[in-house]
């Protein structure tokens, strides 16, 4: 497939002088920063102070975003539904279901078009009104293309039904008929209305012969002189053989009948039956598929594919799909007549008539500025098993390429990114890794958003992303001195080192202020406590305080002792723990047993033996030596007293 050189989109940045300066830039999610500068450091550049501007360049979706969001949301639902029912799509019903999906997509486009049309009409200033109208015509073109693709590629209409579908297609997209009809029929004297014959002609061009016949009968009523001719022409209209759905006749039978009918029309023309009415004669010629007559109606046809379908209707109604291209090409040529050249839309439609799906997609990718259309259409066509895979160097294919592009675009939006997640999910090669890269960049502006993002990652076992996001939040919390938040994020990140760090801060806080912050959190750590030793200590230390508060002194005492003997407590904290033991030692009843008291004494001796403990920065220890000594003395005394009492207690009989 040869590469078409679509011209790169040029974005102009007002105020920047590309003649004199260069640009430095940086990528951001959804935006690009650009700034004027001069790179050649060796040259002395004229500096113009104060007029330096930084530019933020981004895709302009704001204007239509409200309405397009609905399009994105609803098509997302259809997309996901299609992926999910893929396995169930079997046999004969498969095609019908895929056609239904296609129609769903189209109805979503039409709904969006309608809404935007309303907005365009209601727009207060002409400029935005024009923008909306332009968007409406883009959507209309998209639906036109999609509809044709549905007929040719998904419905795969065979000769016979093919023409009927194409007629529907044209009728759907050339809407002037209805307004014209309303005008004419609404007037007092329809058949004398200046657009009367235009209406009849258009109806014939669209193959709406019943309606055309009704018009003719009005004319017959209104002017008796032409009644006879009207009747005859009306009869011809009535008797034109058409393939109706459910009709059991074969194509050959139809062709035969049609041939007869065509000859009858021809005869009337030759006999000059309609000679006295140029209008009627022209209609007869049209019904004979006379090219010149058709081309006279260019204005009513309004485009070449209408011309094509009308031409086929009246000259080759049993056209086969593979012959379409030939007629399409010649129709385009005849219609344009060398006066203008095909527009991109024409090329897209032509590629469709050629059944060159890849070309259709390629041209649409070039012509449309968003990926929405090609991504969804290609995905659907892929489900119809119509795409060969072109492998990228890392094994992806066109469907995936387009879906990745579309989904990446969604991630630039503060809430549409959630839709993007599902699209990535259905890209087997690069979806996961693309999601990983994109999801990390979502700004975590609120806790709610962070939780949403984390849920997405956890559902997909993206453990590294979970860890990273939680770490970012934990770090932010620590810097803002929100220790509780930092701790819970560290736990969620399963980051033992950081949990230790935050726990240390908690403990330091406690030493400074004498109380804990975020009690709720620490009290309810549960199994998360095991994440790091320091965290375990924090949890257990708080438990000690709780036990003490509940007056469960024996339990509190055991816990306190175990914190030191099990080495969970950092050495720097031992003094505090021993000091905490003081009130327990001074109680009326004996709480610490003799053995426990020996342990405490040992701990105290360990602590005061003067060995500097490496690796544990001990700011608290830089206290007044006097205070230290007093404390130690008090402890020694209390411990000795407790030892005495506990020995006595344990040595006595109960009750004495």
């Amino acid at each position: 497939m040869e590469e078409l050189d679509g011209e790169p989109t040029v974005t102009l940045i007002p105020g920047m002088n590309s003649q004199k300066k260069q640009m430095c830039f940086d990528w951001g999610p959804g935006e690009m920063l650009v700034c004027e500068t001069s790179f050649n450091k060796k040259e002395k550049s004229e500096v113009v102070p104060g007029c330096l501007l930084i530019y933020i360049v981004r895709k302009d979706v704001d204007v239509y975003s409200q309405i397009l969001r609905k399009l994105f949301n609803e098509s997302h639902g259809i997309f996901v539904g299609l992926q999910r029912i893929e396995e169930e799509l079997t046999g004969k019903s498969r095609k019908a279901q895929l056609v239904r999906v296609s129609k769903n997509y189209r109805s979503v486009i039409r709904a969006c078009m309608e809404e935007m049309h309303q907005v365009a009409i209601a727009a207060k200033d002409p400029a935005s009104g024009r923008q909306f109208s332009s968007q409406v015509s883009i959507l209309s073109a998209m639906e036109l293309i999609w509809n044709l693709c549905e007929i040719l590629f998904i419905e795969v209409a065979p000769a016979g039904p093919l023409l009927l579908h194409l007629l529907d297609w044209v009728r759907l997209h050339v809407c002037e008929v209805d307004s014209l009809s309303a005008d004419v029929l609404g007037s007092e004297n329809p058949s004398k209305h200046e657009s009367f014959w235009n209406l009849v002609t258009v109806l014939v061009l669209q193959g709406r012969l019943d309606e055309a016949r009704q018009m003719l009968s009005r004319e017959a009523d209104a002017s008796p002189t032409s009644a006879g001719m009207c009747r005859i022409l009306g009869d011809l209209m009535r008797t034109m053989p058409v393939l109706s759905p459910g009709n059991t006749q074969t194509l050959t039978e139809l062709e035969l009948k049609w041939q007869h009918w065509h000859e009858e029309c021809e005869r009337h023309l030759q006999d000059g039956t309609f000679a006295s009415s140029p209008h009627l004669e022209s209609l007869c010629k049209i019904m004979l598929g006379d090219e010149a007559a058709l081309l006279e109606q260019k204005k009513l046809l309004s485009n070449w594919y209408h011309f094509l379908v009308t031409r086929l209707l009246y000259s080759h109604p049993t056209v086969k799909p593979m012959d379409l291209y030939f007629y399409a090409q010649s129709s385009l040529d005849l219609f344009l007549g060398g006066e203008s050249s095909p527009e991109p839309l024409d090329n897209i439609l032509m590629a469709a008539f050629e059944f060159d799906i890849h070309q259709v997609i390629k041209e649409c990718s070039i012509a449309l500025s968003n990926w929405w259309f090609v991504a969804h259409l290609t995905d659907l066509l892929d489900h119809c098993k119509l795409l060969q895979s072109h492998n990228l160097y890392f094994g992806s294919n066109m469907r995936e390429f387009l879906l990745l592009e579309y989904a990446s675009g969604l991630f630039a939006h503060h809430s549409l990114w959630q839709l993007g997640v599902d699209y990535f999910d259905y890209c087997p090669e690069l979806g996961r890794v693309s999601l990983e890269l994109h999801i990390e960049r979502i700004p975590l502006s609120t806790e709610q958003k962070a939780l949403k993002v984390l849920r997405v990652c956890e559902q997909r076992q993206m453990t590294e992303q979970v860890r990273s996001i939680c770490k970012i939040l934990a770090m932010k919390a620590v810097r803002n001195n929100r220790l509780g938040s930092a701790l819970s994020w560290s736990i969620r990140a399963k980051d033992a080192a950081f949990a230790t760090l935050v726990s240390d801060r908690f403990l330091r806080d406690y030493c400074e202020r004498g109380c804990f912050s975020d009690l709720d959190l620490i009290d309810n750590l549960g199994p998360a406590m095991m994440l790091s030793d320091r965290l375990t200590f924090l949890g257990k230390y708080r438990e000690f305080h709780r036990l003490y508060g509940e007056k469960r002194f024996v339990d509190a005492a055991s816990l306190l002792l175990s914190l030191m003997t099990s080495q969970i407590a950092p050495r720097s904290f031992w003094m505090t723990l021993l000091t905490d033991a003081l009130p327990l030692l001074e109680q009326k009843q004996v709480i610490f047993s003799a053995e426990q008291t020996y342990e405490l004494m040992r701990c105290l001796e360990d602590l005061t033996s003067g060995k500097p403990v490496c690796g544990e920065p001990d700011p608290q220890r830089l206290q007044d030596d006097d205070v230290e000594t007093t404390k130690v003395e008090m402890l020694r005394l209390a411990l000795a007293r407790n030892l005495a009492r506990s020995i006595i207690k344990e040595g006595s009989l109960e009750g004495s």
């Binding site: 990528w27 933020i56 302009d60």
Partner: protein, 360 residues
């Protein structure tokens, strides 16, 4: 379709570098006026300058953000032969109300004898590490072992590149299959100097960086160099800004074929070369997924390059100035209203097609 909005930069001299943070909600600019400015994006999408301070005693060439896992940290490098690391301190609450942020210098890296031309943080999986390169031809790798204490950085490696260096790039791949790699570019203008683009790789055994490759086909001064993010490829992609834009692929040759223990050998292929900028290309940078490369050059434009699903690279977009100076630009601090509506309507080829009505 793109729109451009402008913000008055308020620097008193040329801006040399602009840098988004990881999430795109903050940016930093640095200038020949020796200062760095930090800008924050509000919920409504407006940018405000929240910090501006003198960082060096010479022009500041580059500024870069560390990964947010390490907090709010910036590094800058300057003509004054130093690089510096800055950390945001969360200030008093009235500062928050006034919308200001405070930055303190955590360390100055003074090992270079010449202008420090680039500074880049290593990928986050390597810890808090950065590399600088200087006109003295040496790349220095520093590490802060304690993430909570940013004043302690140690010089871990000095890599001699023999030529004056202009740019460095870390390979962002965190795959275990790839050891850490740094690409270094040199803008030495003497034609005899061969090694204008070099790749260094970390060797687990020797614990040192050793040269893995020189891109022999790059013979002109290199102004910027950038590894692309890796989406699970087994090979690397490197973009180089020299007299044109060049994109190389580096496929590691299987280890059994090379002497074990030495640096990886690579099969180097050039997959794209573009001279649309007409002369020198000064910057290259990849988007998040490594699917689009942006380049800026002497023609005063930024160009976007993308490979299609057939793996052909072509230009998909151009940003250029329209040449007209913005009115009232001589006033400092004048902010311009969003210019989106004034940007000429980009050609959407489906406008006024034969399907719809032509609108005037």
């Amino acid at each position: 379709m793109f729109v451009a909005r402008s913000i008055a930069a308020d620097h008193k001299d040329l801006i040399h570098d602009v840098s988004f943070d990881f999430h795109g909600r903050r940016m930093a600019t640095c200038s020949s006026d020796q200062s760095v400015k930090v800008w924050d994006k509000s919920e409504s999408g407006d940018w405000h300058c929240t910090a501006s301070w003198k960082t060096h005693s010479g022009s500041v060439w580059r500024v870069t953000w560390a990964h947010p896992e390490f907090g709010q940290v910036l590094a800058s490098c300057s003509f004054d032969r130093t690089a510096a690391v800055w950390e945001e301190i969360v200030g008093e609450s009235n500062d928050k109300l006034r919308g200001q942020s405070h930055w303190v210098k955590r360390t100055t890296l003074v090992d270079s004898r010449t202008s420090v031309t680039d500074v880049k943080f290593a990928p986050k999986h390597m810890g808090l590490m950065l590399a600088t390169c200087s006109a003295d031809g040496i790349v220095r790798v520093y590490e802060a072992p304690d993430v909570m204490n940013l004043s302690q950085w140690s010089l871990q490696h000095e890599i001699s590149c023999k030529l004056s260096c202009s740019c460095i790039s870390w390979n962002p791949s965190s795959s275990r299959a790839h050891p850490p790699m740094i690409a270094v570019g040199s803008d030495d203008s003497s034609p005899n100097a061969m090694a204008k683009a070099q790749i260094f790789e970390y060797n687990e055994n020797t614990r040192k960086y050793a040269k893995a490759e020189t891109l022999m086909t790059v013979t002109d001064p290199v102004h910027d160099i950038a590894f692309a993010p890796n989406l699970g490829r087994s090979f690397h992609i490197l973009a180089i800004a020299t007299k044109d834009v060049r994109i190389f692929t580096l496929k590691p040759v299987r280890k059994e074929l090379t002497s074990s223990g030495g640096p990886t050998k690579f099969e180097i292929h050039i997959v794209a070369q573009f001279d649309n900028h007409n002369s020198q290309v000064w910057r290259v940078s990849w988007n998040i997924t490594g699917t689009v490369l942006a380049s800026s050059g002497d023609d005063g434009c930024v160009r976007l390059w993308k490979a299609n699903y057939m793996d052909n690279w072509k230009c998909t977009g151009i940003l250029k100035g329209n040449g007209s100076p913005v009115s009232g630009s001589s006033q400092q601090g004048s902010s311009n209203p969003p210019l989106g509506s004034n940007v000429p309507n980009l050609q959407n080829s489906l406008n006024g097609s034969s399907a719809g009505r032509k609108h005037s």
